[in-house]
């Protein structure tokens, strides 16, 4: 469970402050895999980044006892000049994994990069990068995984594997996902939160949420 208390978030712009959330109070459920739905610019990514503490609200708090992953998007934290292995070790180090060499090995097998693992990331295709980032995240134990369309690029075989891993993880961990692809959300999530006009609403049933979301578009 993640508690959001009196949260206000705005961005400055030439037209004055743009408020995304104003005095928002909400209890974010994490028992099941949750999708965040909303139109472009509704504040999905902002909420997502604030949950991950990559960004902070102007006022208010986000309180949780769970450990959260970083927002797993396509490129986060990957340096194109460094090799896959060096990038993996960097991510392992800052997340304090117990054994770096073991972590490295697991990521290499999971991402199916074989000997490409020792080449600079700039030589990778976008699918391979996505695999690497996803593998780095999945091999660290978090209570909640924050996933931002990262899995949509992999080939069908990898997507199947990703789905299976996420399903396994879902037994002890939760997943929060942002995506525009409804198929993908149906694959991974069972419930949803809809963002509209700076307000959040939780739907226990994913299909109900999707119906409302697509109806309103």
């Amino acid at each position: 469970m993640i508690q959001i208390k009196a949260l206000t978030k705005s961005y400055p712009s030439v037209q004055g402050r743009q408020y995304i959330f104003k005095d928002l109070n909400f209890t974010f459920p994490t028992e099941s895999n949750v999708a965040i739905l909303g139109k472009n610019g509704a504040g999905k990514s902002t909420l997502f980044r604030m949950l991950a503490k990559s960004e902070y609200p102007d006022r208010g708090q986000i309180i949780t006892k769970k450990s959260m992953s970083w927002p797993v998007a396509l490129q986060t934290g990957i340096h194109p000049q460094m090799t896959g292995r060096e990038n993996t070790r960097f991510i392992g180090r800052i997340n304090n994994v117990r054994s770096l060499s073991e972590y490295e090995k697991n990521v290499q097998t999971f991402a199916e990069l074989k000997n490409k693992f020792d080449l600079p990331v700039k030589t990778y295709s976008s699918g391979m990068r996505a695999k690497l980032v996803f593998a780095c995240c999945m091999n660290i134990n978090f209570d909640i995984y924050l996933i931002d369309e990262a899995t949509s690029v992999g080939d069908p075989h990898f997507r199947k594997k990703a789905k299976k891993t996420l399903k396994d993880k879902a037994k002890q961990a939760g997943v929060i996902m942002v995506s525009h692809e409804l198929d993908q959300i149906r694959e991974f999530c069972t419930s949803a939160v809809i963002i509209r006009d700076g307000k959040l609403k939780y739907y226990k049933d994913l299909e109900e949420a999707i119906a409302i979301y697509t109806g309103e578009n």
Binding site: Y11, R49, A52, K53, S54, E55, Y56, W70, P71, A73, Q75, T76, G77, I78, H79, Q81, M82, E86, R89, F90, I91, R93, I94, N95, N96
Partner: protein
């Protein structure tokens, strides 16, 4: 909240990881890390050598080569660290997605890297001086080390301020170049404060870099004298700028993340 020691340990791991990352990405060409030491060492050595050959003799009891060497090391420590540390916050932007990595970790890492490189450069230059059988002396080594550290505190604080400013106003880099270029000529690198008539001193000795450089020369050769410069002023400049930079950082770091 976590205990202090656990937090310190967390900071240490992050900075260590960033440090390795910086090393790996900065020096993965053929010349590698060695270039980082050779380039500034050669630059300083050649410039000092030419100046020594042109005029020769002593400047206020210091051999001109050593005089130039100290001046060049001082101004290079200030200018090149200012340039690279002040881009650190922007350069590491993608990494702030990890909540463990704060903008200040990038600054500390970059400052530490620059400091280590420059210290090795000084070591290399000292060996060169020794091998060339130049006359040298360290009359007051404690003061020399102290002045060197004060210079670094000052340079890092100013760089932190520029780095924060660059997050709000990207054009600040142009202003930084505009300001830093004349620093090379007004910081008593090529001449001594003693060469200037006393009534014009106030045009020069507001600049803390003048104090660091002249004090370093005085620390090496007591006979050089320390008229017109003061350790207290140098220390105050370092501490005030450090305090000011950290306060501004404390006020703005969460905003920097959203930019």
């Amino acid at each position: 909240m976590n205990s202090l020691s656990a937090q310190l340990k967390g900071w240490r791991t992050v900075i260590f990881a960033l440090f390795l990352r910086e090393l790996q990405s900065k020096f993965n060409d053929k010349l590698g890390l060695s270039w980082a030491f050779i380039e500034p060492a050669l630059f300083i050595l050649v410039l000092s050598f030419i100046r020594g050959k042109v005029t020769g003799g002593d400047v206020h009891s210091i051999p001109i080569f050593i005089f130039m060497l100290i001046g060049m090391i001082g101004i290079q420590s200030f200018l090149s660290s200012l340039n690279s540390i002040s881009t650190a916050i922007k350069k590491n932007k993608p990494l702030y997605a990890f909540r463990q990595v704060h903008p200040i970790s990038a600054i500390i890492t970059s400052a530490f890297l620059e400091f280590s490189i420059k210290t090795v450069v000084i070591f290399l230059l000292s060996i060169a001086v020794y091998l060339m059988r130049m006359p040298y002396s360290f009359d007051n080594p404690v003061m020399l080390v102290g002045v060197y550290l004060l210079l670094w505190i000052f340079a890092t604080s100013i760089a932190l301020l520029f780095s924060i400013a660059a997050a709000y106003i990207p054009e600040i880099d142009k202003i930084k170049n505009f300001i830093s270029r004349p620093m090379f000529f007004i910081s008593c690198v090529f001449f001594s404060l003693q060469d200037i008539p006393k009534e014009y001193w106030h045009y020069f000795n507001w600049n803390p870099v003048v104090h660091y450089i002249e004090l370093a020369r005085y620390a090496c050769f007591t006979s050089y004298g320390n008229e017109g410069v003061s350790l207290a002023y140098a220390a105050m400049c370092s501490l005030v700028s450090l305090f000011f930079a950290l306060s501004i950082y404390h006020l703005t770091w969460k905003n920097i993340l959203s930019r």
